[in-house]
């Protein structure tokens, strides 16, 4: 933590954001930045730290979102009560998908995750219990505070901030623990890691479990805030793609990379959506696509890599 003053200043700025701006649009953007940062940071655990590029994380996001609203529509529970249940279900699904898939390397893993997520999307689109293609609605008006249904984005901002701080704290601890080094070794190469005695499959699975649980939490929080989900908005492939792009732009496998990516991309997306309405989605993804093509082509380490190069102490010249 060489740069802790900057991190602290950043935290204060983010925490004070909804108090500094009074415009509801800007407050909403702030909350959405934090939400995107949660899901991208969760993806980062497996996709960044462990280097296993999942393009199917929408499956966990969707489980969280659907758990929240299904409990409301079926049992009348407050949606947030679905969050822990979604996390448990996501971890079970992660075991089912991860155990056979982690034997695959590189692209094969990515493709298997896409197929699994698409499968989930099609099944949800045809399952009446979860609203099939129409989707599910949350409580139309709050019954109690437990419904967490607020008109102002500000309460969501602090709810999401708390979740993000918890996740980043956990990631930070993980990074410094044995697991952090194991994952770094796995990222460098499966074979080399296992020849050094790293239990590769087990640690990939641990990373995926953590990642799935927090992605699911992000899904539940999204459902609580927006109050409406359908197969496309909760399980669509673009949900997965967004997590990857946000994390990769900021810097995959770095603590703050996903947050930085979210701070750049989410305002961009919200602005194009506000300017162009429905067709804004199209323009947003043209820009997103172009950004990641450029990141991949010129700066695969993302902004974190640029930052590292800028702040790195230059070796003192020996004359």
């Amino acid at each position: 933590m060489k740069h802790w003053p900057i991190a602290l200043a950043g935290f204060v700025a983010i925490a004070a954001w909804p108090l500094l701006v009074h415009d509801v649009f800007l407050q909403r953007v702030g909350a959405l930045v934090l939400l995107a940062a949660i899901s991208a940071s969760a993806w980062n655990l497996i996709g960044g730290y462990a280097g296993q590029v999942s393009v199917g994380h929408s499956i966990y996001f969707g489980i969280g979102a659907y758990a929240a609203l299904t409990l409301y529509t079926e049992l009348g529970w407050p949606p947030i009560a679905g969050a822990p249940i979604g996390m448990v279900v996501s971890m079970l699904i992660a075991v089912v998908i991860g155990t056979p898939t982690f034997r695959l390397r590189g692209h094969y893993f990515s493709m298997a995750t896409i197929a699994a997520a698409e499968l989930a999307r099609i099944l949800a689109s045809n399952w009446p219990l979860v609203g099939a293609a129409v989707g599910l609605m949350g409580p139309p008006r709050p019954r109690s505070v437990a419904d967490l249904s607020f008109i102002s984005p500000v309460p969501y901002h602090y709810l999401f901030l708390a979740a993000l701080v918890a996740l980043l704290g956990l990631t930070w601890a993980m990074q410094r623990s044995r697991m952090g080094y194991y994952l770094a070794a796995i990222r460098g190469g499966d074979r080399a890691a296992s020849s050094l005695g790293v239990p590769v499959l087990r640690y990939k699975l641990y990373a995926l479990l953590l990642s799935a649980a927090f992605t699911s939490l992000a899904g539940s929080l999204y459902a609580v805030m927006v109050g409406f989900i359908d197969p496309e908005s909760a399980l669509g492939i673009l949900i997965s793609v967004k997590m990857v792009i946000v994390a990769a732009l900021g810097g995959a496998g770095t603590l703050f990379g996903p947050l930085v990516g979210a701070i750049i991309l989410v305002p961009l997306e919200e602005t194009t959506n506000a300017l162009y309405g429905g067709s804004g989605t199209g323009i947003t993804f043209i820009i997103y696509g172009a950004i990641i093509v450029f990141v991949a082509r010129f700066q695969p380490g993302g902004i974190a890599e640029i930052w590292r190069k800028l702040t790195e102490r230059r070796p003192t010249r020996v004359s």
């Binding site: 996709g47 280097g51 590029v53 393009v55 056979p100 898939t101 034997r103 695959l104 590189g106 692209h107 094969y108 990515s110 493709m111 298997a112 896409i114 197929a115 699994a116 698409e118 499968l119 099609i122 099944l123 045809n126 492939i237 793609v241 990857v244 792009i245 990769a248 995959a252 067709s279 989605t281 199209g282 323009i283 947003t284 993804f285 043209i286 997103y288 696509g289 172009a290 950004i291 990641i292 093509v293 990141v295 991949a296 082509r297 695969p300």
Partner: protein
């Protein structure tokens, strides 16, 4: 009789699947790169066919080669401008590179051509044949047979010509190939050109009987992944057999258990193959 009808139409669709999947498998087998934009290449070719017909008033005799030529160029440009550089990077960069390209192509099409489905007129390639009680639309027959011939032709080019040997040499051992006076970069650019040209032909052929929309490439890309995994990475004959099999499985499951679940079946099959036999049915190593 209906069952036979379903199987035949499955085989015809499957042979088009085989064609664009063999392009994917060629690139993949040669340089271990997955083109995540492959389905969107097919989508572009479908629009080339559509606009060639509506704006230039040319028929399939011209727009199929036109789509092949345009997509060949696109493949070479994508290789030289993007893929050549990202293959040297980390795995994440390789995936992001072609995935980003897919997003740009898909949503640029969305923006330029709107989300509306379009299609070529049904009677562009005359009527319907009646062969011993089997009714086959001429457009599907033309598409299926032509795709089959070109897939086999591609296999012959790869196995029977000097160019094919050079391509193979680069995929086997890049530095050894260089010592033999082969330029790997040029060969890989050609492989990308061929791979993309296969989507050009396949796309123009599917456009004869399939709806055209900016997002059509998404599901076609998944089909191509399934076919390539099933057939074995890098194997054109494998892609041919797997493509036909997927076409038939899709058609049969669509007929027997409903259109919605045909994708469920195909994707499940894909996962099972990846988990049980990751090298595919005919793949090596």
């Amino acid at each position: 009789m209906i069952l036979l009808q379903v199987i035949v139409s499955g085989l015809l669709m499957g042979s088009v699947y085989a064609l664009f999947s063999s392009g994917l498998t060629l690139i993949w087998g040669m340089m271990n790169v997955v083109n995540f934009a492959h389905g969107d290449f097919v989508m572009l070719a479908m629009y080339v066919a559509f606009f060639a017909f509506t704006l230039l008033k040319v028929g399939p005799l011209l727009f199929v080669p036109l789509a092949a030529a345009l997509l060949f160029m696109l493949g070479v440009v994508v290789y030289l401008g993007l893929v050549r550089h990202v293959v040297r990077g980390p795995p994440l960069a390789q995936i992001l590179g072609t995935f980003g390209l897919a997003l740009v192509l898909r949503y640029a099409a969305f923006w330029a051509f709107t989300a509306n489905f379009v299609s070529l007129p049904d009677n562009l390639v005359g009527g319907t044949f009646d062969i011993g009680g089997l009714r086959i639309e001429a457009s599907r027959l033309l598409g299926g047979v032509l795709a089959l011939v070109i897939t086999i032709g591609m296999h012959l080019i790869l196995t029977r010509t000097a160019l094919g040997s050079r391509l193979l040499a680069v995929s086997e051992d890049r530095s050894a190939a260089m010592l033999m006076g082969i330029r790997p970069d040029r060969m890989q650019a050609i492989a990308w050109g061929f791979g993309a040209a296969s989507t050009g032909i396949a796309g123009a052929l599917i456009a004869l009987f399939f709806y055209i929309s900016p997002t059509v490439g998404e599901s076609l890309a998944l089909v191509a992944f399934v076919v390539v995994c099933l057939g074995g990475f890098g194997s054109v004959p494998g892609a041919l057999i797997a493509g036909l099999a997927i076409g038939v499985i899709e058609a049969l499951s669509g007929y027997l258990i409903g259109a919605v679940y045909k994708d469920v079946l195909v994707y499940s099959l894909f996962l099972i193959v990846l988990w049980v036999r990751p090298r595919g049915l005919m793949g090596t190593s």
